[in-house]
Amino acid sequence: MGHAAEPFLSIVLTGRNDGYGGDFVARLARALRFNHHQLESRAVSYEVVFVEWAPPADRPRLSELLFAVAPELERRAFAWYVVDPAYQTILSLNPRLEYLEFLAKNVGVRRARGRFVLTSNCDVYLGRRVLEAIQAGQLNPRVVYRAPRHDLKPLTTSVLDWTLLEDPKSLAGPAHVLKPPYMGSATGDFAMLDRESFHEVRGFNEVYRVARIGIDRNFLVKALSSGFTIADIGGPVYHENHEGSYRLNPRAYEGREAEAPWGDRRWHSGGVSYVNPPTWGLGLAPARSMAGGTVHLDFAWEAIPPLVDLRGVVVPAARRGGPSPGQYVRKR
């Protein structure tokens, strides 16, 4: 379903073969297999835009491993980008931050071809209602669609079905509820918007490269501030719990927040907005086609935004009749 010039849906994912959360490749293959099967059975035209961000030099690429593990996945449904590790090194403003997740997602969002772009994660399964809404195709522009996340206990099976997915016994805890106005909570797992609007707001925040936690929530502030609506799509997505997940132990770095590998969770992600440069999503990175249809984004200084761009941090705009986008939280 991935060869349409403009598929209905682009699913943007990012990862690398670094063993994140345990057996990363198995979790990725399981989720992709399930989502691929569900979308295909509903005749949804889609592509997966996968961004392999700063892959370790001493390990095989995910693109090499995935299709060996899951040969049933249609290679043509994937647009696969490998990003030079130098970008992570140069762009990070926090030495403890090993993965600039949302910059990676921006690489995918910028290059996505779908009418709607869903940014999600590698271990997220699309729920029944979500699939129905996508299949119906009645999605509106300028609406950020959100889905609550249901956390599953770690799975052992390689193939997943609805019986297991929707069994309350599979849940690792109480289901999350989306609360207006942000409809936040695990936004990184499901944020869908029409491509044009995603380009209008220039993706996720690239100015604040000090943390990756809260960048998804900050995107919702930007969306509200830009006059977009945030809506619950009507059903959940499912996420497989794994070791190292922030969700499992959000207070692991309490009192030493600066040491957290995801950055300081207390930053004002709910209170400021941003203006990315027009080159967002490594727009000027030279692209080099490689074997297997993979595109390598080579390092180039002209693709790097300024180290510090203070004018890119702005106060969010309140809209008449809309919720106030900013709310002060004392940080220190």
Binding site: P95, V210, H268, G271, D309, V315, G326, Y328
Partner: protein, 136 residues
């Protein structure tokens, strides 16, 4: 005959003893009644004086109340003004907090940039030092 004698006595200004007795008793009764009325009149006069004092007191109170009402009206206007100023201050506070957040976020960025630049500088200097101090 009795009537004739009474008329005759009346010519000389005299009355019969019984008549005299009756008149005297009537006069006594009238005197008592008059005293009662005097007492009542005195009481009424006292009551009138009391009521007059009450009226004066009430008038004073009314005057005081009017002043209080005026004061309250003024105070209410002051409170309305204060409320309006409070709403303005709250709005300004929200804006100030938003700017404070933006400043703190900018400081985070500056701090982060300073940290990574320090690391890069140390690394570059150390590398340079190693190269220059390496034996030929």
């Amino acid at each position: 005959m009795k009537r004739l004698i009474n008329r005759l006595l009346a010519v000389f200004g005299l009355v019969s003893a019984r008549r005299y007795q009756a008149m005297t008793e009537q006069a006594e009764r009238l005197k008592v009644t008059a005293n009662e009325w005097k007492t009542r009149a005195s009481e009424v006069a006292t009551r009138v004086r009391e009521l007059e004092a009450d009226v004066k007191r009430s008038a004073r109170l009314a005057q005081k109340s009017k002043l209080s009402v005026d004061k309250m009206r003024q105070r209410r206007q002051d409170i309305d003004k204060l409320r309006s100023r409070l709403a303005d201050a709250e709005r300004e506070l929200i804006v100030a907090r938003e700017h404070l957040m933006a400043i703190e976020v900018k400081l985070d960025i500056l701090e982060g940039a300073a940290n990574v630049l320090e690391i890069r500088t140390r690394s570059a200097v150390s590398q340079h030092h190693n190269q220059t101090s390496a034996p030929a």
